[in-house]
């Protein structure tokens, strides 16, 4: 008899380990690095985030003269949120989105 059979039978009669994802959502841990968001009111235009970004994903928006993040390049390292002196950039818990040339 195969040695794993008891484990197989045990797993057959228990509830699934996976969650039904789009319907049931798992609670994210505190400090999760999701999509970065910019609070344009708080921005003091010091441009530290542009220098800190390893992927050159942050550029200056011509209209509002504030930084904007190209999410197609962003790697969610959180360096910009760390260097921001006024906490204008924060890492949100949002991870469901799609991007082509989408900027925040």
């Amino acid at each position: 008899m195969p040695r794993i059979l008891p484990k197989v039978l045990q797993n057959l009669f228990r509830k699934p380990f996976t969650v039904k994802y789009p319907y049931v959502k798992r609670e994210l841990p505190k400090g999760y690095r999701g999509r970065p968001a910019i609070d344009r009111e708080k921005c003091i235009r010091c441009w530290l985030c542009i220098r800190a970004c390893p992927d050159r994903a942050i550029s200056i928006d011509r209209g509002t003269k504030t930084p904007s993040i190209w999410l197609g390049r962003c790697t969610f390292c959180g360096e910009c949120a760390e260097v921001c002196p006024t906490k204008a950039i924060i890492m949100t818990e949002e991870f469901e989105y799609t991007t082509l040339y989408n900027v925040t």
Partner: protein
């Protein structure tokens, strides 16, 4: 009369591109030729175009599975280059995350190895338990895979006091299930039939072909950088270097499974002894001309980083030698004399990571000629 059996570059037993040319006589393999370079991404050149701090994230992207060990080695190299000493607490946090990475890499190996020999139940179970490690890493670093925790001169994120009971609970669960898998790996008839005495690498061959990591340890070579050339906190922590004497696929699996148990021990100790103090020290990015070499023990074996600075904020040259590259030479002696059906599991037994491996080689595989292309030529072709 021999026939040539090409395996790859598409899906040679795993979903990464590499070309293997087997010469077979009936069922028996008589010769093997390996051609590398299909996943070349030019990362070493990219290193010398960014500053030291941005390169931490580039080093992380060399390999997805072993990203923390890449960024830790890179940070240790640059710290050595600039003469910075990271704080004790940062070293402990690095150790915790690196060992969690070793656990998840070995569980991933176990799952895919079980899948290769047609044992899908074990595949599902191993990958289910791997989730515990991924959740732990998400708890500490805020990302399941890419931790982004390391930085030059320390770490960016702290292991908080409230994380520790949760982690210890998960480690207990993991230890129990890994013990079960180790027991199963040593006694199940399917596994023994498919893995025992397959792809044997003798101790002499392992020395001759410079095998590294679990492959060398399965051939009874006591070779572990954590013990032989201690870095970080490994001198202060107690653990055993696991060795097996058989040198076959089964021994490589046993070494990895027993290493998971050792890693769990290390994480527990590190969590227990976690010293208080600062997380990082301030760093001056302009590093005077200097060169250095640093090696660490990645889940797959010895990882070497070489760095040369030239007084500016960008390095002049970074060279990476990944463990998979070190193990390719010993593959030939594993394959010869075996059968065609053994190819996938023997190939997987060194835990190859071609994404890691193909950074530096430029080969012209179309004509069968191996030639080195210089940058000028590359530029001309681009147009």
């Amino acid at each position: 009369m021999t026939f040539v059996l090409p395996v790859g570059p598409q899906h040679p037993s795993l979903k990464e591109p590499e070309f293997f040319r087997f010469e077979v006589k009936g069922e028996e393999i008589v010769d093997v030729d390996i051609r590398l370079g299909y996943a070349h991404r030019g990362i070493e050149e990219a290193f010398s175009r960014r500053n030291y701090k941005h390169n931490v994230y580039l080093a992380e992207r060399i390999c997805g599975i072993c990203n923390v060990v890449h960024s830790t080695t890179y940070c240790q190299t640059i710290e050595q280059l600039a003469g910075i000493e990271p704080p004790e607490r940062a070293k402990y946090i690095r150790t915790i995350i690196m060992e969690l990475e070793r656990i998840h890499s070995h569980l991933l190996w176990l799952g895919v190895a079980a899948h290769q020999i047609g044992f899908d139940t074990l595949f599902m179970l191993a990958w289910r338990d791997r989730e515990e490690v991924m959740d732990m890493r998400e708890l500490i670093s805020g990302g399941r895979v890419h931790s982004a925790t390391n930085t030059i001169g320390g770490v960016r994120r702290n292991v908080k006091l409230e994380h520790i009971p949760e982690m210890l609970r998960r480690l207990d669960k993991l230890e129990k299930s890994t013990g079960y898998y180790a027991d199963l790996w040593g006694s199940d008839r399917t596994i023994l039939a498919r893995c025992s005495k397959v792809g044997v690498l003798s101790k002499d061959d392992a020395v001759k072909f410079c095998a590294v990591g679990p492959v060398a340890r399965a051939s009874n070579l006591k070779l572990d950088i954590r013990r032989n050339d201690p870095y970080g906190t490994y001198e202060a922590l107690s653990f055993d270097v696991v060795t097996e004497s058989e040198g076959d696929v089964w021994a490589r699996g046993t070494v990895r499974l027993r290493e998971i148990l050792e890693s769990i021990r290390i994480v527990r100790q590190a969590l227990h002894e976690l010293p208080s103090g600062p997380l990082r020290v301030p760093v001056e990015l302009k590093i005077p001309p200097n060169e250095t070499l640093e090696r660490t023990e990645a889940p797959r074996g010895e990882l070497v980083y070489y760095a040369r600075s030239n007084g500016t904020e960008t390095p002049e040259r970074i060279r990476v030698r990944t463990p998979t590259y070190g193990n390719f030479a010993s593959m030939k002696s594993m394959f010869i004399g075996g059968t065609v059906a053994e190819i996938p599991i023997v190939m997987w037994s060194i835990d190859p990571c071609f994404g890691c491996n193909d950074r530096a080689t430029i080969l012209d595989a179309r004509t069968g000629k191996v030639s080195v292309v210089n940058f000028k030529q590359l530029k001309r072709w681009r147009r």
